[in-house]
Symmetry: C2
Subunit: 287 residues, 2 copies
Protein backbone atom coordinates (compact mmCIF):
# COMPACT_ATOMS: atom_id res chain seq x y z
CA UNK A 1 0.00 0.00 0.00
CA UNK A 2 1.33 3.46 -0.91
CA UNK A 3 1.32 6.24 1.67
CA UNK A 4 -1.38 8.14 -0.21
CA UNK A 5 -3.57 5.06 -0.26
CA UNK A 6 -2.81 4.47 3.40
CA UNK A 7 -3.68 8.06 4.37
CA UNK A 8 -6.79 7.95 2.21
CA UNK A 9 -7.88 4.71 3.84
CA UNK A 10 -7.34 5.94 7.38
CA UNK A 11 -8.90 9.32 6.67
CA UNK A 12 -12.06 7.64 5.37
CA UNK A 13 -12.21 5.58 8.54
CA UNK A 14 -11.86 8.65 10.74
CA UNK A 15 -14.19 10.77 8.59
CA UNK A 16 -16.98 8.26 9.16
CA UNK A 17 -16.27 8.18 12.90
CA UNK A 18 -16.20 12.01 13.12
CA UNK A 19 -19.47 12.21 11.20
CA UNK A 20 -21.01 9.69 13.61
CA UNK A 21 -19.71 11.56 16.66
CA UNK A 22 -21.26 14.81 15.43
CA UNK A 23 -24.52 13.09 14.55
CA UNK A 24 -24.80 11.89 18.13
CA UNK A 25 -24.87 15.54 19.26
CA UNK A 26 -28.50 16.07 18.33
CA UNK A 27 -29.12 18.90 20.81
CA UNK A 28 -26.51 21.26 19.35
CA UNK A 29 -27.97 24.51 17.91
CA UNK A 30 -27.71 24.55 14.11
CA UNK A 31 -25.51 27.67 13.95
CA UNK A 32 -22.94 26.00 16.20
CA UNK A 33 -23.18 22.60 14.54
CA UNK A 34 -22.69 24.14 11.11
CA UNK A 35 -19.47 25.82 12.25
CA UNK A 36 -18.24 22.62 13.93
CA UNK A 37 -18.94 20.53 10.82
CA UNK A 38 -17.39 23.14 8.52
CA UNK A 39 -14.02 22.93 10.27
CA UNK A 40 -14.03 19.28 11.29
CA UNK A 41 -15.30 17.44 8.22
CA UNK A 42 -14.07 17.04 4.69
CA UNK A 43 -10.62 18.55 4.90
CA UNK A 44 -7.11 18.14 6.14
CA UNK A 45 -4.63 15.31 5.87
CA UNK A 46 -5.92 13.57 9.03
CA UNK A 47 -2.30 12.93 9.94
CA UNK A 48 -2.88 12.71 13.70
CA UNK A 49 -5.74 10.20 13.45
CA UNK A 50 -3.72 8.14 10.96
CA UNK A 51 -0.81 8.05 13.40
CA UNK A 52 -3.04 6.98 16.32
CA UNK A 53 -4.81 4.29 14.31
CA UNK A 54 -1.51 2.92 12.96
CA UNK A 55 0.22 2.90 16.33
CA UNK A 56 -2.71 0.98 17.75
CA UNK A 57 -2.54 -1.49 14.87
CA UNK A 58 1.20 -1.91 15.37
CA UNK A 59 0.71 -2.82 19.04
CA UNK A 60 -2.36 -5.04 18.92
CA UNK A 61 -3.04 -5.79 15.26
CA UNK A 62 -6.29 -3.82 15.15
CA UNK A 63 -6.87 -0.08 14.64
CA UNK A 64 -10.44 0.02 15.97
CA UNK A 65 -9.67 0.55 19.68
CA UNK A 66 -8.03 3.86 18.72
CA UNK A 67 -11.08 5.33 16.97
CA UNK A 68 -12.11 7.50 19.96
CA UNK A 69 -8.52 8.75 20.21
CA UNK A 70 -8.36 9.43 16.46
CA UNK A 71 -11.54 11.51 16.61
CA UNK A 72 -10.47 13.36 19.74
CA UNK A 73 -7.06 14.22 18.25
CA UNK A 74 -8.61 15.64 15.09
CA UNK A 75 -11.12 17.66 17.13
CA UNK A 76 -8.33 19.15 19.24
CA UNK A 77 -6.29 19.87 16.11
CA UNK A 78 -9.28 21.59 14.45
CA UNK A 79 -10.10 23.66 17.52
CA UNK A 80 -6.50 24.87 17.61
CA UNK A 81 -6.62 25.88 13.94
CA UNK A 82 -9.88 27.80 14.44
CA UNK A 83 -8.52 29.74 17.43
CA UNK A 84 -5.09 30.28 15.86
CA UNK A 85 -6.71 31.81 12.77
CA UNK A 86 -8.65 34.43 14.80
CA UNK A 87 -7.90 38.11 14.13
CA UNK A 88 -6.43 38.52 17.63
CA UNK A 89 -4.07 35.59 16.95
CA UNK A 90 -2.54 34.80 13.53
CA UNK A 91 -5.36 36.57 11.63
CA UNK A 92 -5.60 34.07 8.79
CA UNK A 93 -8.37 34.26 6.18
CA UNK A 94 -7.81 30.89 4.55
CA UNK A 95 -7.63 27.39 5.94
CA UNK A 96 -7.74 24.04 4.18
CA UNK A 97 -8.62 25.73 0.91
CA UNK A 98 -11.60 27.68 2.18
CA UNK A 99 -12.44 30.70 4.32
CA UNK A 100 -11.30 30.32 7.91
CA UNK A 101 -14.03 29.85 10.52
CA UNK A 102 -14.32 33.45 11.73
CA UNK A 103 -14.40 34.71 8.12
CA UNK A 104 -17.30 32.40 7.39
CA UNK A 105 -19.27 32.51 10.66
CA UNK A 106 -18.01 35.55 12.57
CA UNK A 107 -15.63 35.69 15.50
CA UNK A 108 -18.01 34.77 18.29
CA UNK A 109 -19.23 31.61 16.60
CA UNK A 110 -15.67 30.66 15.66
CA UNK A 111 -14.48 31.01 19.26
CA UNK A 112 -17.41 28.89 20.46
CA UNK A 113 -16.98 26.26 17.74
CA UNK A 114 -13.37 25.89 18.89
CA UNK A 115 -14.43 25.63 22.53
CA UNK A 116 -17.07 23.09 21.58
CA UNK A 117 -14.66 20.88 19.61
CA UNK A 118 -12.09 20.92 22.43
CA UNK A 119 -14.71 19.87 24.97
CA UNK A 120 -16.28 17.29 22.67
CA UNK A 121 -12.82 15.76 22.18
CA UNK A 122 -12.76 14.79 25.85
CA UNK A 123 -16.32 13.50 25.74
CA UNK A 124 -15.53 11.29 22.76
CA UNK A 125 -12.25 10.12 24.26
CA UNK A 126 -13.99 9.24 27.53
CA UNK A 127 -15.87 6.61 25.53
CA UNK A 128 -12.60 4.69 25.43
CA UNK A 129 -13.02 4.18 29.17
CA UNK A 130 -9.26 4.78 29.52
CA UNK A 131 -8.30 7.58 31.89
CA UNK A 132 -4.65 7.38 30.74
CA UNK A 133 -5.67 8.58 27.30
CA UNK A 134 -7.54 11.54 28.83
CA UNK A 135 -4.47 12.50 30.83
CA UNK A 136 -2.14 12.16 27.83
CA UNK A 137 -4.35 14.27 25.56
CA UNK A 138 -4.94 16.96 28.19
CA UNK A 139 -1.23 17.31 28.92
CA UNK A 140 -0.36 17.51 25.22
CA UNK A 141 -3.06 20.06 24.38
CA UNK A 142 -2.87 22.19 27.54
CA UNK A 143 -0.76 25.01 28.98
CA UNK A 144 2.42 22.91 29.02
CA UNK A 145 1.79 21.64 25.49
CA UNK A 146 0.02 23.12 22.50
CA UNK A 147 -1.29 26.27 24.23
CA UNK A 148 2.22 26.89 25.59
CA UNK A 149 3.59 26.71 22.05
CA UNK A 150 1.00 29.12 20.71
CA UNK A 151 1.65 31.79 23.33
CA UNK A 152 5.43 31.50 22.96
CA UNK A 153 5.05 31.74 19.20
CA UNK A 154 2.90 34.87 19.46
CA UNK A 155 5.16 36.60 21.93
CA UNK A 156 8.20 35.75 19.82
CA UNK A 157 6.92 37.43 16.65
CA UNK A 158 9.31 40.04 15.38
CA UNK A 159 11.95 39.22 18.00
CA UNK A 160 15.33 37.63 17.46
CA UNK A 161 15.27 33.91 18.04
CA UNK A 162 17.70 31.22 19.03
CA UNK A 163 17.59 27.78 17.45
CA UNK A 164 16.84 26.30 20.88
CA UNK A 165 13.85 28.55 21.52
CA UNK A 166 12.48 27.82 18.05
CA UNK A 167 12.76 24.08 18.71
CA UNK A 168 11.04 24.50 22.07
CA UNK A 169 8.16 26.52 20.59
CA UNK A 170 7.51 23.91 17.92
CA UNK A 171 7.97 20.94 20.23
CA UNK A 172 5.01 22.42 22.12
CA UNK A 173 2.96 23.95 19.33
CA UNK A 174 2.89 21.08 16.84
CA UNK A 175 5.09 18.42 18.40
CA UNK A 176 3.10 17.71 21.54
CA UNK A 177 -0.07 16.69 19.72
CA UNK A 178 1.76 14.61 17.13
CA UNK A 179 3.63 12.80 19.90
CA UNK A 180 0.35 12.30 21.77
CA UNK A 181 -1.20 10.80 18.63
CA UNK A 182 1.34 7.97 18.71
CA UNK A 183 1.05 7.53 22.47
CA UNK A 184 -2.75 7.50 22.45
CA UNK A 185 -2.76 4.89 19.70
CA UNK A 186 -0.43 2.63 21.67
CA UNK A 187 -2.39 3.17 24.91
CA UNK A 188 -5.65 2.40 23.12
CA UNK A 189 -4.12 -0.92 22.08
CA UNK A 190 -3.53 -1.69 25.74
CA UNK A 191 0.16 -0.77 25.88
CA UNK A 192 1.66 -0.08 29.31
CA UNK A 193 3.45 3.20 29.99
CA UNK A 194 6.84 1.48 29.73
CA UNK A 195 6.05 0.46 26.15
CA UNK A 196 5.58 4.08 25.07
CA UNK A 197 9.17 5.40 24.61
CA UNK A 198 9.61 4.26 20.96
CA UNK A 199 6.30 5.93 20.09
CA UNK A 200 7.17 9.05 22.06
CA UNK A 201 10.54 9.36 20.29
CA UNK A 202 9.07 8.67 16.87
CA UNK A 203 6.41 11.32 17.54
CA UNK A 204 8.97 13.89 18.63
CA UNK A 205 11.15 13.49 15.56
CA UNK A 206 8.18 13.33 13.22
CA UNK A 207 6.79 16.51 14.79
CA UNK A 208 10.07 18.31 14.16
CA UNK A 209 10.19 16.98 10.60
CA UNK A 210 6.62 18.13 10.04
CA UNK A 211 7.36 21.64 11.29
CA UNK A 212 10.52 22.10 9.25
CA UNK A 213 8.77 20.99 6.06
CA UNK A 214 5.87 23.31 7.01
CA UNK A 215 8.29 26.22 7.27
CA UNK A 216 9.91 25.29 3.95
CA UNK A 217 6.51 25.09 2.25
CA UNK A 218 5.61 28.54 3.58
CA UNK A 219 8.57 29.82 1.54
CA UNK A 220 8.52 27.54 -1.50
CA UNK A 221 5.08 25.94 -1.47
CA UNK A 222 2.04 26.40 -3.67
CA UNK A 223 -0.83 28.19 -1.88
CA UNK A 224 -3.41 26.30 -3.93
CA UNK A 225 -2.00 22.87 -3.13
CA UNK A 226 -1.58 23.86 0.52
CA UNK A 227 -5.06 25.32 0.84
CA UNK A 228 -3.75 28.23 2.89
CA UNK A 229 -1.91 31.52 2.43
CA UNK A 230 1.87 31.29 2.01
CA UNK A 231 4.60 33.78 2.88
CA UNK A 232 2.78 34.49 6.16
CA UNK A 233 5.84 33.70 8.30
CA UNK A 234 8.02 36.32 6.62
CA UNK A 235 5.14 38.80 6.66
CA UNK A 236 4.63 38.28 10.41
CA UNK A 237 8.39 38.33 11.00
CA UNK A 238 8.14 34.84 12.44
CA UNK A 239 11.31 32.93 13.08
CA UNK A 240 11.40 29.73 11.02
CA UNK A 241 13.96 27.01 10.44
CA UNK A 242 14.89 28.23 6.93
CA UNK A 243 15.20 31.82 8.14
CA UNK A 244 17.40 30.85 11.12
CA UNK A 245 19.51 28.16 9.44
CA UNK A 246 19.25 28.89 5.74
CA UNK A 247 17.32 26.65 3.36
CA UNK A 248 20.13 24.13 2.84
CA UNK A 249 20.74 23.54 6.55
CA UNK A 250 16.99 23.39 7.20
CA UNK A 251 16.72 20.59 4.66
CA UNK A 252 19.60 18.74 6.30
CA UNK A 253 17.88 19.05 9.70
CA UNK A 254 14.69 17.67 8.18
CA UNK A 255 16.64 14.66 6.86
CA UNK A 256 18.20 14.11 10.29
CA UNK A 257 14.80 14.20 11.94
CA UNK A 258 13.52 11.73 9.37
CA UNK A 259 16.40 9.34 10.10
CA UNK A 260 15.89 9.54 13.84
CA UNK A 261 12.15 9.02 13.57
CA UNK A 262 12.72 5.84 11.55
CA UNK A 263 15.33 4.65 14.00
CA UNK A 264 12.92 5.06 16.95
CA UNK A 265 10.65 2.36 15.54
CA UNK A 266 13.50 0.05 14.52
CA UNK A 267 12.54 -2.47 17.25
CA UNK A 268 9.34 -3.18 15.32
CA UNK A 269 11.29 -4.06 12.18
CA UNK A 270 9.37 -4.62 8.98
CA UNK A 271 6.03 -4.37 10.83
CA UNK A 272 6.56 -0.60 11.13
CA UNK A 273 7.02 -0.23 7.37
CA UNK A 274 4.12 2.19 6.89
CA UNK A 275 5.66 4.53 9.49
CA UNK A 276 8.95 4.56 7.57
CA UNK A 277 7.08 5.35 4.35
CA UNK A 278 5.14 8.07 6.11
CA UNK A 279 8.37 9.72 7.24
CA UNK A 280 9.65 9.83 3.67
CA UNK A 281 6.30 11.10 2.47
CA UNK A 282 6.40 14.02 4.92
CA UNK A 283 10.06 14.70 4.15
CA UNK A 284 9.17 15.14 0.47
CA UNK A 285 5.62 16.54 0.81
CA UNK A 286 4.42 19.44 -1.31
CA UNK A 287 1.24 20.15 0.71
CA UNK B 1 -22.39 26.92 60.55
CA UNK B 2 -23.81 29.86 58.60
CA UNK B 3 -23.82 29.78 54.80
CA UNK B 4 -21.17 32.52 54.59
CA UNK B 5 -18.92 30.54 56.93
CA UNK B 6 -19.63 27.39 54.92
CA UNK B 7 -18.83 29.08 51.58
CA UNK B 8 -15.73 30.69 53.07
CA UNK B 9 -14.56 27.34 54.43
CA UNK B 10 -15.10 25.50 51.14
CA UNK B 11 -13.62 28.32 49.10
CA UNK B 12 -10.44 28.22 51.17
CA UNK B 13 -10.21 24.48 50.59
CA UNK B 14 -10.61 24.89 46.84
CA UNK B 15 -8.34 27.94 46.67
CA UNK B 16 -5.49 25.91 48.13
CA UNK B 17 -6.17 23.05 45.70
CA UNK B 18 -6.31 25.43 42.71
CA UNK B 19 -3.07 27.05 43.80
CA UNK B 20 -1.46 23.61 44.08
CA UNK B 21 -2.77 22.56 40.66
CA UNK B 22 -1.29 25.68 39.04
CA UNK B 23 2.00 25.24 40.89
CA UNK B 24 2.33 21.77 39.41
CA UNK B 25 2.34 23.35 35.93
CA UNK B 26 5.94 24.49 36.11
CA UNK B 27 6.51 24.52 32.35
CA UNK B 28 3.87 27.14 31.57
CA UNK B 29 5.24 30.40 30.09
CA UNK B 30 4.94 33.26 32.59
CA UNK B 31 2.67 35.39 30.38
CA UNK B 32 0.16 32.56 30.16
CA UNK B 33 0.45 31.55 33.80
CA UNK B 34 -0.10 35.12 34.93
CA UNK B 35 -3.35 35.31 32.96
CA UNK B 36 -4.49 31.92 34.25
CA UNK B 37 -3.78 32.86 37.87
CA UNK B 38 -5.41 36.28 37.45
CA UNK B 39 -8.75 34.76 36.47
CA UNK B 40 -8.65 31.57 38.52
CA UNK B 41 -7.38 32.66 41.93
CA UNK B 42 -8.62 35.03 44.58
CA UNK B 43 -12.11 35.80 43.38
CA UNK B 44 -15.60 34.52 42.87
CA UNK B 45 -18.03 32.80 45.16
CA UNK B 46 -16.67 29.30 44.37
CA UNK B 47 -20.27 28.13 44.27
CA UNK B 48 -19.64 25.18 41.92
CA UNK B 49 -16.73 23.76 43.96
CA UNK B 50 -18.74 24.20 47.17
CA UNK B 51 -21.62 22.25 45.63
CA UNK B 52 -19.34 19.43 44.47
CA UNK B 53 -17.54 19.15 47.81
CA UNK B 54 -20.82 19.19 49.75
CA UNK B 55 -22.52 16.62 47.53
CA UNK B 56 -19.53 14.35 48.00
CA UNK B 57 -19.68 14.85 51.77
CA UNK B 58 -23.40 14.12 51.78
CA UNK B 59 -22.85 10.79 50.02
CA UNK B 60 -19.74 9.47 51.74
CA UNK B 61 -19.08 11.72 54.72
CA UNK B 62 -15.87 13.18 53.28
CA UNK B 63 -15.38 16.06 50.83
CA UNK B 64 -11.80 15.21 49.83
CA UNK B 65 -12.53 12.76 46.98
CA UNK B 66 -14.25 15.66 45.16
CA UNK B 67 -11.26 17.99 45.19
CA UNK B 68 -10.24 17.24 41.58
CA UNK B 69 -13.86 17.80 40.51
CA UNK B 70 -14.07 21.04 42.50
CA UNK B 71 -10.93 22.39 40.81
CA UNK B 72 -12.02 21.25 37.36
CA UNK B 73 -15.45 22.87 37.73
CA UNK B 74 -13.96 26.20 38.78
CA UNK B 75 -11.48 26.06 35.88
CA UNK B 76 -14.29 25.43 33.39
CA UNK B 77 -16.36 28.21 34.95
CA UNK B 78 -13.42 30.65 34.75
CA UNK B 79 -12.63 29.74 31.14
CA UNK B 80 -16.25 30.41 30.22
CA UNK B 81 -16.18 33.83 31.91
CA UNK B 82 -12.96 34.79 30.10
CA UNK B 83 -14.33 33.81 26.68
CA UNK B 84 -17.80 35.28 27.35
CA UNK B 85 -16.24 38.64 28.25
CA UNK B 86 -14.33 38.90 24.93
CA UNK B 87 -15.16 41.84 22.63
CA UNK B 88 -16.60 39.46 20.02
CA UNK B 89 -18.91 37.98 22.67
CA UNK B 90 -20.47 39.98 25.55
CA UNK B 91 -17.71 42.62 25.48
CA UNK B 92 -17.43 43.10 29.23
CA UNK B 93 -14.68 45.22 30.79
CA UNK B 94 -15.16 44.20 34.42
CA UNK B 95 -15.28 40.83 36.09
CA UNK B 96 -15.13 39.94 39.76
CA UNK B 97 -14.32 43.53 40.66
CA UNK B 98 -11.35 43.93 38.33
CA UNK B 99 -10.55 44.34 34.64
CA UNK B 100 -11.65 41.37 32.54
CA UNK B 101 -8.89 39.17 31.15
CA UNK B 102 -8.66 40.67 27.65
CA UNK B 103 -8.65 44.20 29.09
CA UNK B 104 -5.72 43.25 31.28
CA UNK B 105 -3.70 40.93 29.01
CA UNK B 106 -5.01 41.52 25.48
CA UNK B 107 -7.36 39.38 23.46
CA UNK B 108 -4.95 36.72 22.26
CA UNK B 109 -3.68 35.90 25.74
CA UNK B 110 -7.22 35.90 27.11
CA UNK B 111 -8.38 33.42 24.46
CA UNK B 112 -5.40 31.18 25.21
CA UNK B 113 -5.80 31.46 29.00
CA UNK B 114 -9.39 30.27 28.55
CA UNK B 115 -8.29 27.41 26.30
CA UNK B 116 -5.59 26.48 28.82
CA UNK B 117 -7.98 26.43 31.79
CA UNK B 118 -10.52 24.31 29.91
CA UNK B 119 -7.86 21.77 28.98
CA UNK B 120 -6.26 21.79 32.42
CA UNK B 121 -9.68 21.07 33.93
CA UNK B 122 -9.69 17.69 32.21
CA UNK B 123 -6.10 16.98 33.21
CA UNK B 124 -6.88 17.72 36.86
CA UNK B 125 -10.12 15.76 36.76
CA UNK B 126 -8.33 12.77 35.23
CA UNK B 127 -6.41 12.56 38.50
CA UNK B 128 -9.65 11.28 40.05
CA UNK B 129 -9.18 8.18 37.92
CA UNK B 130 -12.94 8.22 37.29
CA UNK B 131 -13.94 8.29 33.63
CA UNK B 132 -17.61 8.94 34.58
CA UNK B 133 -16.64 12.33 35.96
CA UNK B 134 -14.82 13.20 32.71
CA UNK B 135 -17.89 12.28 30.68
CA UNK B 136 -20.24 14.24 32.95
CA UNK B 137 -18.11 17.38 32.88
CA UNK B 138 -17.53 17.22 29.10
CA UNK B 139 -21.25 16.84 28.39
CA UNK B 140 -22.16 19.71 30.71
CA UNK B 141 -19.51 22.08 29.34
CA UNK B 142 -19.71 21.15 25.66
CA UNK B 143 -21.86 21.89 22.61
CA UNK B 144 -25.00 20.41 24.18
CA UNK B 145 -24.38 22.20 27.48
CA UNK B 146 -22.67 25.46 28.33
CA UNK B 147 -21.42 26.28 24.82
CA UNK B 148 -24.93 25.60 23.49
CA UNK B 149 -26.34 28.10 25.99
CA UNK B 150 -23.81 30.76 25.05
CA UNK B 151 -24.49 30.57 21.33
CA UNK B 152 -28.27 30.56 21.82
CA UNK B 153 -27.94 33.54 24.14
CA UNK B 154 -25.85 35.47 21.63
CA UNK B 155 -28.12 34.73 18.70
CA UNK B 156 -31.16 35.68 20.78
CA UNK B 157 -29.96 39.20 21.63
CA UNK B 158 -32.43 41.84 20.51
CA UNK B 159 -34.99 39.28 19.42
CA UNK B 160 -38.36 38.54 20.99
CA UNK B 161 -38.21 35.64 23.40
CA UNK B 162 -40.56 33.06 24.78
CA UNK B 163 -40.40 31.96 28.39
CA UNK B 164 -39.59 28.42 27.22
CA UNK B 165 -36.63 29.50 25.07
CA UNK B 166 -35.28 31.64 27.91
CA UNK B 167 -35.48 28.65 30.27
CA UNK B 168 -33.73 26.46 27.69
CA UNK B 169 -30.90 28.97 27.16
CA UNK B 170 -30.21 29.24 30.86
CA UNK B 171 -30.60 25.54 31.55
CA UNK B 172 -27.64 25.18 29.16
CA UNK B 173 -25.65 28.32 29.86
CA UNK B 174 -25.55 28.26 33.66
CA UNK B 175 -27.69 25.29 34.63
CA UNK B 176 -25.66 22.51 33.05
CA UNK B 177 -22.47 23.26 34.98
CA UNK B 178 -24.29 23.78 38.29
CA UNK B 179 -26.10 20.47 37.80
CA UNK B 180 -22.79 18.81 36.91
CA UNK B 181 -21.24 20.18 40.10
CA UNK B 182 -23.72 18.21 42.18
CA UNK B 183 -23.38 15.10 40.01
CA UNK B 184 -19.58 15.19 40.02
CA UNK B 185 -19.54 15.50 43.79
CA UNK B 186 -21.79 12.48 44.18
CA UNK B 187 -19.83 10.46 41.61
CA UNK B 188 -16.56 11.35 43.35
CA UNK B 189 -18.04 9.89 46.53
CA UNK B 190 -18.57 6.62 44.68
CA UNK B 191 -22.28 7.06 43.93
CA UNK B 192 -23.76 4.93 41.15
CA UNK B 193 -25.61 6.56 38.25
CA UNK B 194 -28.97 5.53 39.75
CA UNK B 195 -28.19 7.56 42.89
CA UNK B 196 -27.81 10.77 40.89
CA UNK B 197 -31.43 11.91 40.25
CA UNK B 198 -31.89 13.86 43.53
CA UNK B 199 -28.61 15.70 42.82
CA UNK B 200 -29.54 16.29 39.19
CA UNK B 201 -32.93 17.74 40.17
CA UNK B 202 -31.46 19.87 42.94
CA UNK B 203 -28.87 21.20 40.51
CA UNK B 204 -31.47 22.03 37.87
CA UNK B 205 -33.69 24.01 40.23
CA UNK B 206 -30.72 25.71 41.88
CA UNK B 207 -29.39 26.68 38.46
CA UNK B 208 -32.72 28.29 37.55
CA UNK B 209 -32.84 30.06 40.93
CA UNK B 210 -29.30 31.31 40.42
CA UNK B 211 -30.11 32.70 36.97
CA UNK B 212 -33.31 34.46 38.01
CA UNK B 213 -31.54 36.15 40.94
CA UNK B 214 -28.70 37.03 38.55
CA UNK B 215 -31.18 38.73 36.23
CA UNK B 216 -32.81 40.55 39.15
CA UNK B 217 -29.41 41.76 40.39
CA UNK B 218 -28.58 43.07 36.92
CA UNK B 219 -31.59 45.39 37.33
CA UNK B 220 -31.53 46.15 41.06
CA UNK B 221 -28.06 45.13 42.22
CA UNK B 222 -25.04 47.14 43.30
CA UNK B 223 -22.19 47.07 40.76
CA UNK B 224 -19.60 47.41 43.50
CA UNK B 225 -20.93 44.49 45.55
CA UNK B 226 -21.32 42.41 42.38
CA UNK B 227 -17.87 43.25 41.04
CA UNK B 228 -19.22 43.62 37.51
CA UNK B 229 -21.15 46.08 35.39
CA UNK B 230 -24.94 46.16 35.87
CA UNK B 231 -27.69 47.12 33.46
CA UNK B 232 -25.87 45.16 30.72
CA UNK B 233 -28.90 42.98 29.92
CA UNK B 234 -31.16 45.94 29.11
CA UNK B 235 -28.32 47.62 27.22
CA UNK B 236 -27.75 44.47 25.10
CA UNK B 237 -31.50 43.97 24.70
CA UNK B 238 -31.17 40.58 26.34
CA UNK B 239 -34.29 38.78 27.37
CA UNK B 240 -34.34 38.19 31.13
CA UNK B 241 -36.85 36.75 33.58
CA UNK B 242 -37.83 40.17 35.02
CA UNK B 243 -38.20 41.64 31.54
CA UNK B 244 -40.35 38.74 30.29
CA UNK B 245 -42.42 38.16 33.42
CA UNK B 246 -42.24 41.40 35.37
CA UNK B 247 -40.27 41.73 38.60
CA UNK B 248 -43.03 40.37 40.85
CA UNK B 249 -43.59 37.21 38.83
CA UNK B 250 -39.81 36.70 38.47
CA UNK B 251 -39.51 36.73 42.26
CA UNK B 252 -42.34 34.22 42.56
CA UNK B 253 -40.60 31.94 40.06
CA UNK B 254 -37.39 32.21 42.08
CA UNK B 255 -39.27 31.15 45.20
CA UNK B 256 -40.79 28.21 43.35
CA UNK B 257 -37.37 27.10 42.14
CA UNK B 258 -36.05 27.39 45.70
CA UNK B 259 -38.89 25.22 47.03
CA UNK B 260 -38.35 22.57 44.37
CA UNK B 261 -34.60 22.51 44.93
CA UNK B 262 -35.11 21.90 48.63
CA UNK B 263 -37.68 19.20 47.91
CA UNK B 264 -35.25 17.34 45.63
CA UNK B 265 -32.93 16.64 48.56
CA UNK B 266 -35.75 15.80 50.98
CA UNK B 267 -34.72 12.09 51.04
CA UNK B 268 -31.51 13.15 52.82
CA UNK B 269 -33.50 14.86 55.60
CA UNK B 270 -31.59 16.93 58.12
CA UNK B 271 -28.24 15.80 56.68
CA UNK B 272 -28.82 18.06 53.66
CA UNK B 273 -29.34 21.12 55.88
CA UNK B 274 -26.50 23.13 54.37
CA UNK B 275 -28.06 22.71 50.91
CA UNK B 276 -31.35 24.09 52.20
CA UNK B 277 -29.55 27.06 53.74
CA UNK B 278 -27.64 27.60 50.51
CA UNK B 279 -30.89 27.77 48.56
CA UNK B 280 -32.23 30.50 50.85
CA UNK B 281 -28.90 32.31 50.68
CA UNK B 282 -29.06 32.41 46.87
CA UNK B 283 -32.73 33.38 46.91
CA UNK B 284 -31.88 36.43 49.03
CA UNK B 285 -28.37 37.19 47.74
CA UNK B 286 -27.26 40.72 46.95
CA UNK B 287 -24.09 39.76 45.06
Amino acid sequence: MSVSEFLHDKSQQVEAALEAALNECDKVPSALMEAMRYSLLGGGKRLRPALALSACELVCGDACPAIPAACALEMVHCYSLIHDDLPAMDDDDMRRGKASSHKRFGEATAILAGDALLTLAFEVLAQSGDIRQILTLAKAAGPEGMVCGQILDMHAEGRPHSFESLCHIHACKTGALIRASLELGALAAGAQYDQLPPFTRFGEHLGLLFQITDDILDVEGDAELLGKSIGKDAQNEKATYPQLLGMKEARRLAEDAADQAREALAPFGERARIFHQLVLYILHRNH
